[in-house]
Symmetry: C2
């Protein structure tokens, strides 16, 4: 997507931006750390020395491992690995039966059970939607408790302020039967930190990243560079802004804890220039994802992309925009596809049906990434000769040996002919996805959790709830 010269041009321009325009860092402690390391600080603006940025970013590892409660689900982030994460952060939840609505803790637990049941989802995204029936100050505690009870997969932490980040760290440690030192040695949390584009790092995000990086946990730096709104109306302009912001925050992270794991996150998309609405899964989005992967590799950093759509319902648009996003991620060499399953409405809603449809798309992509086997056995010249011109391979021994595992078996796709499909009620993909998650939920089982650990978590949540509500 980008030539080597283009990558270097964007790199040099990013360093120039950081040295001249600088970054508005609203958090005192973060500014102090940057000043101590030699940055020029003028009121809230921090200007970076290019050599210091390059030296700092070079300290970040190119690969790291995130622990899961089930060691079989540990995630290697980096290299040629790709991990799929369920949607994180929406305000709403939706499904075919109940429509679109603010979510509850009970529905959050349903959603988590379906995530646990879908093997292609490698990581949970830090809460699929907000539980609006719980107090905002403490709902992260209930969420983390559910994550540890209902999943044996890895899950993302929350960076919004010091308290939430700190509680996530403590609960992850308890869940893994370890302490903060053990967790620092073998991290479990990856957390998204967004900059406020252009060139601003706010207080809650700075607090979160200092807490998490300080504890040796991984941070995924993701500027929200929406071309035509908070970024220039060109992909090159949005990419240079994204790149500068990633480098600035990566520098801060490496000052907090040299060698702390981090990711290069891209969320570059564009607005509809007629309305100002954000658009996702556009051709520009796909190109930006692919180009961002090249930039991440320029710095030897693991790369994060996403599966996005602006569609308001689980229709063809939601699928083709998601496909454009996913292919951008895969072609960009993404190591983590955030929001890989469930995202709808530009991220405002977590959809149960989209979760299942995306899981199908992810499974197809995973199968696509398996190489074609070409050898004498797979070529089957003897089988072709035995069948001969004009025959068929239905009952051939070459076929029968491969019968069960020859090809991808779908989750949602209906391959029956029209007549059979119509007789069975003409059920479309969205309705089939509804039936599938209902069944997965009905059949779901919670993975075993040591009762002592569960007790400790319960106690922690109870104590912290009282403490946090007392601060109201």
């Amino acid at each position: 997507m980008l030539s080597d010269d283009h990558v270097e041009h964007i790199h040099r321009s990013s360093l120039q931006l950081l040295a001249t325009s600088g970054v508005r860092v609203l958090h005192d402690g973060a500014r102090r750390r940057l000043a101590d390391a030699g940055c020029a600080v003028d009121d809230l603006i921090v200007r970076f020395d290019p050599e210091m940025v390059e030296a700092s970013v070079a300290l970040a590892p190119s690969t790291f491992t995130l622990r899961a409660r089930n060691p079989a689900h540990d995630l290697v982030i980096g290299g040629r690995n790709i991990a799929f994460t369920s949607v994180g952060g929406p305000a709403f939840v939706s499904d075919v039966e109940r429509g679109r609505r603010p979510g509850t803790h009970a529905e959050q637990q349903e959603y988590l059970r379906v995530i646990q049941a879908l093997g292609v989802i490698h990581q949970e995204g830090g809460g699929p939607f907000e539980a609006m029936d719980l107090a905002p100050e403490t709902r992260h505690l209930d969420l983390c408790h559910s994550l540890l009870r209902l999943l044996d997969k890895n899950w993302q932490g929350i960076a919004l302020g010091r308290d939430r980040a700190s509680d996530c760290i403590d609960m992850a440690a308890i869940g893994l039967g370890t302490d903060r030192d053990g967790l620092a040695e073998r991290p479990a949390l990856l957390t998204i930190v967004n900059t406020n584009t252009p060139l601003t790092l706010d207080i809650p995000m700075a607090e979160g990243l200092i807490e998490l990086s300080g504890a040796g946990q991984a941070v995924c730096i993701t500027p929200f560079t929406l071309a035509g709104a908070m970024a220039p109306a060109t992909l090159a302009g949005a990419l240079v802004l994204q790149n500068a912001e990633v480098l600035a925050v990566a520098t801060l992270i490496q000052l907090v804890r040299p060698g702390a794991p981090l990711m290069y996150g891209s969320f570059t998309s564009n607005v509809d220039m007629r309305s100002g609405s954000p658009a996702f899964g556009t051709p520009e989005y796909t190109k930006a994802a692919q180009a961002s992967g090249q930039l991440a590799r320029r710095y030897g950093l693991p790369f994060r992309s996403s599966n996005t759509t602006a569609a308001n319902t689980v229709d063809a648009q939601s699928a083709y925009e998601s496909a454009m996003s996913l292919w951008g991620a895969v072609m960009g060499g993404a190591n983590l596809v955030n929001h890989a399953a469930g995202w709808l409405e530009g991220g405002l809603t977590a959809s149960f049906e989209k979760l299942v449809i995306d899981a199908e798309m992810l499974q197809m992509m995973a199968e696509y990434l398996q190489p074609i086997v070409v050898d004498d056995d797979s070529l089957g010249l003897e089988a072709i000769a035995a069948v001969g011109p004009g025959g068929h391979f239905f009952g051939s021994p070459h076929t029968m040996e491969r019968y069960e595992t020859a090809f991808y078996s779908p989750l949602v796709s209906d391959w029956r002919n029209f007549e059979t499909w119509a007789e069975a009620g003409s059920i479309d993909a969205r309705e089939r996805a509804h039936l599938i998650w209902r069944q997965l939920l009905d059949e779901s089982e919670s993975p075993a959790l040591d009762p002592a650990i569960d007790d400790e978590l319960t106690e922690f949540v109870a104590r912290r709830t009282v403490e946090l509500l007392a601060q109201r």
Copy 2:
């Protein structure tokens, strides 16, 4: 997708198959031509000398141009060009209002008008569906007449038997104001020729290709290698069979007319091993498309792939299967994407709504294929400095200069927020596509056609109709 060694392994195995199993050629004249050129003929089986195959295939051009009635729509097939073709050949037509039904000539004309209106469709696919209200012997005449009246784009010919192929050639010549010699010098027709996998060439297809290639028109050789049914249940096995069949037919074409233009077509997919149903847009399909592009380039031949789905309605499945197909075609370096718009139900139905949704997906892909511009102007460092940390780019001169053409503008996608979308009736992509083609049809205008040419076509159709019905 394939290593160079894999490509050579498939190549050598294909030649071995052609030399040992051979191809069942049902048409006497075709067998005779192959025997005259040194093939060993045993009853219906023709066995090929590897060197003769390689020498013959090497005669085919790597690039050729197909004329359109409007010279601005001439198509260069080969090199780094990609052309999108509308669906060809289904038995049924469907739309949201009228459902799924056998088509009529009047509906065929509606479909052609929408194809003409969609600029991203570069070629018509030889009739979007059958006009069941017309006599089977003569309906190709009415179709060709409609193609010439309603389109100024290129359209595909029909290879099913000598008469149909010959009539297509004559009508294409009349439409372009030329004769058979002029058409041979500057071809206009590309026609799909399918083998009967495994290793069989039937009489109508052989007649058609001899007529078309003899007249210097282009033939796209496309084996229907359905892995697990008419081909082995491995991609390698299906690819070697596909490759052998393409080489055999390419050899025959070059014997008919050395240097005649042809394409390497791939339609390799797999069946659902549980039911035997053909599946499309599967991960295997995507991989086969990409691998087939490598094989085509091995022979210096232009490559044809397709946009396929097994879905029975225009839902998320239809979009994600089409996306997998399209990305396979693009990643495979396809020079022609057949059935690129309108295909539904494994090719049994041409859908009006799918035509529009596919056009959106094709437009997005075309935009994706435009490179990112990286220069001082697009990077916009001055604009970023002027906006400064914490600002926005809505009114920035850098944005205002690019306002109108900055980003892809969608055909079907609805990017409004949920509330606005819901207030406007919660119209999904399928229903929006319905409104769009209705409007395109209402506003459609037939491109000007010289009345003398139209008269000549009318006369030709009338004469040939009488002749063909007399043969009944």
